[in-house]
C-alpha cells in the first residue's frame, strides 16, 4: 500500500521485540530468543497464575477471597463440565482441563482488562490469544493428547471410532472418510474459534476507538462540523458496551474451549459405552 492508513485496527496485533535475545541456528531453523510483546504478556500471565496458585493452594475451611474465587472457577470445570459430560471417570483429567481453562481465561482477560493501557498508543499489553500460533498450539496439544490417550487406553480398537456401529458395511466406504475429516478438523476449529473471537472483538473495539478520535478532530474544526461530536460520543458509548461484551466473550471462549476439550475427552474415556 502506498500510504499508511489513518485507521489501522490491525496494528495492535503486531509483534515487536522488547529485549533482543540470542539468535542461533538449530537444525536449520533460526531460533530467536528475543522477548517480544507476546512473550512478555505470556510471562506476565504465568506470573499472575503462579501468584494466584500460591495464594489459594493452601485450602482453608473458611475461604478467603482468592480461595472463594478459585473454588467458583473450579466448580465450573468440575460440576458444570466434567461430572455431567464424562462422569466419574473424568476426574483424573480435571488438572489438565482446569489448567487449560485458567490459562486461556487469564490470557483472554488480560487482553480486555489491560487494554486500557493501550489508550495513548503505547503497546503495553497484547492479546496473546489473538495470535493463531498460540491458539493452534493449545488446540493441537489438547487434540493430540486426547487422541494418543485413546490409543494408550484402548489400543488399535480405538480406530473403530471412525466406523459408526450399526452401519451397513457398504456405507462404511463413505462414512469412514467423512468421520475422519470431521475428527481431524477439530484442532483447526478449536484454534480458529478462539483466535477469531478474540481478533474480531478487538478489531471492532479498535475501530470504534479510532472513530472517537477521528470524528472528534473533525468536530473541533468548527462550523457545521461540530455536529460530528454526536457520533463521536456515540462511538465512545459503543466502546463501553463492547468492553462489557468482550469480558463476556473472554470468559465464554475459555469455557467453550474447555467444554469442547471435555467432550473430546469423553469419547476416549467412555469409549464404546456411548454409541
Amino acid at each position: 500500500m502506498a500510504e499508511q492508513p489513518a485507521i489501522d485496527p490491525m496494528h495492535q496485533f503486531m509483534i515487536h521485540k522488547i529485549v533482543q535475545g540470542p539468535v542461533f541456528q538449530l537444525g536449520g531453523l533460526t531460533v530467536d530468543m528475543s522477548i517480544t510483546n507476546s512473550v512478555a504478556s505470556m510471562l506476565a500471565a504465568a506470573v499472575m497464575l503462579v501468584v494466584f496458585f500460591a495464594l489459594t493452594a493452601r485450602g482453608e475451611v473458611v475461604p478467603n477471597r482468592a480461595q472463594a474465587l478459585v473454588e467458583a472457577l473450579y466448580n465450573i470445570v468440575d460440576r458444570v463440565l466434567v461430572t455431567p459430560i464424562i462422569g466419574h471417570g473424568g476426574r483424573a483429567y480435571i488438572p489438565y482441563l482446569f489448567t487449560l481453562f485458567m490459562v486461556i481465561l487469564t490470557l483472554n482477560l488480560m487482553g480486555v482488562v489491560l487494554a486500557v493501557g493501550n489508550v495513548a498508543g503505547l503497546s503495553l499489553t497484547f492479546t496473546v490469544t489473538s495470535q493463531l500460533a498460540i491458539t493452534a498450539t493449545l488446540a493441537v496439544l489438547t487434540f493430540f493428547s486426547v487422541f494418543i490417550l485413546g490409543f494408550i487406553k484402548h489400543g488399535p480398537k480405538f480406530l473403530t471410532l471412525f466406523a459408526p456401529s450399526g452401519m451397513p458395511p457398504a456405507l462404511l466406504i463413505f462414512m469412514v472418510p467423512i468421520e475422519m475429516i470431521s475428527y481431524f478438523v477439530r484442532p483447526l476449529t478449536l484454534a480458529m474459534r478462539l483466535f477469531g473471537n478474540m481478533l474480531g472483538g478487538h478489531v471492532v473495539m479498535s475501530l470504534f476507538g479510532s472513530f472517537v478520535v477521528a470524528l472528534g478532530l473533525v468536530a473541533l474544526s468548527g462550523g457545521v462540523a461540530t455536529l460530528a461530536f454526536l457520533p463521536s460520543v456515540l462511538s465512545f458509548g459503543m466502546i463501553v458496551a463492547l468492553t462489557g461484551l468482550e469480558l463476556v466473550v473472554a470468559v465464554l471462549q475459555a469455557f467453550v474451549f474447555t467444554a469442547l476439550a471435555t467432550v473430546y475427552l469423553n469419547e476416549v474415556v467412555n469409549f464404546g459405552h456411548g454409541h
Binding site: T189, F195, G200, L252
Partner: protein, 75 residues
C-alpha cells in the same frame, strides 16, 4: 479490474458466509428460549449444551471471517 480491488471485493463477499452462522445462532437461542419458557426448571441443566452448540455454529461464521482475512493479508 485491478487485482487489489478484486481482492477487497472478494474479502467482502467472503464474509457473506456469516449469514448462515447468524441464522444458526438465531435458531439456536430462539429454540432454547422457547424451551426454557415452556419448562424453566430444565433450562439451567441444558446451558452447557447451549454454549457448545453456540461454539460449533459460530465456527462456520469464523471460517468465512478467516477466509476473508486470508484474502486480505495472506493471498
Amino acid at each position: 479490474m485491478e487485482a487489489e480491488a478484486a481482492k477487497l471485493i472478494g474479502a467482502g463477499l467472503a464474509t457473506a458466509g456469516m449469514i448462515g452462522a447468524g441464522i444458526g445462532l438465531g435458531v439456536l437461542f430462539g429454540n432454547y428460549l422457547q424451551a426454557a419458557i415452556r419448562n424453566p426448571a430444565a433450562a439451567a441443566s441444558q446451558q452447557t449444551m447451549l454454549f457448545l452448540g453456540m461454539a460449533l455454529t459460530e465456527t462456520m461464521g469464523l471460517f468465512s471471517f478467516v477466509v476473508s482475512l486470508i484474502i486480505l493479508f495472506a493471498a
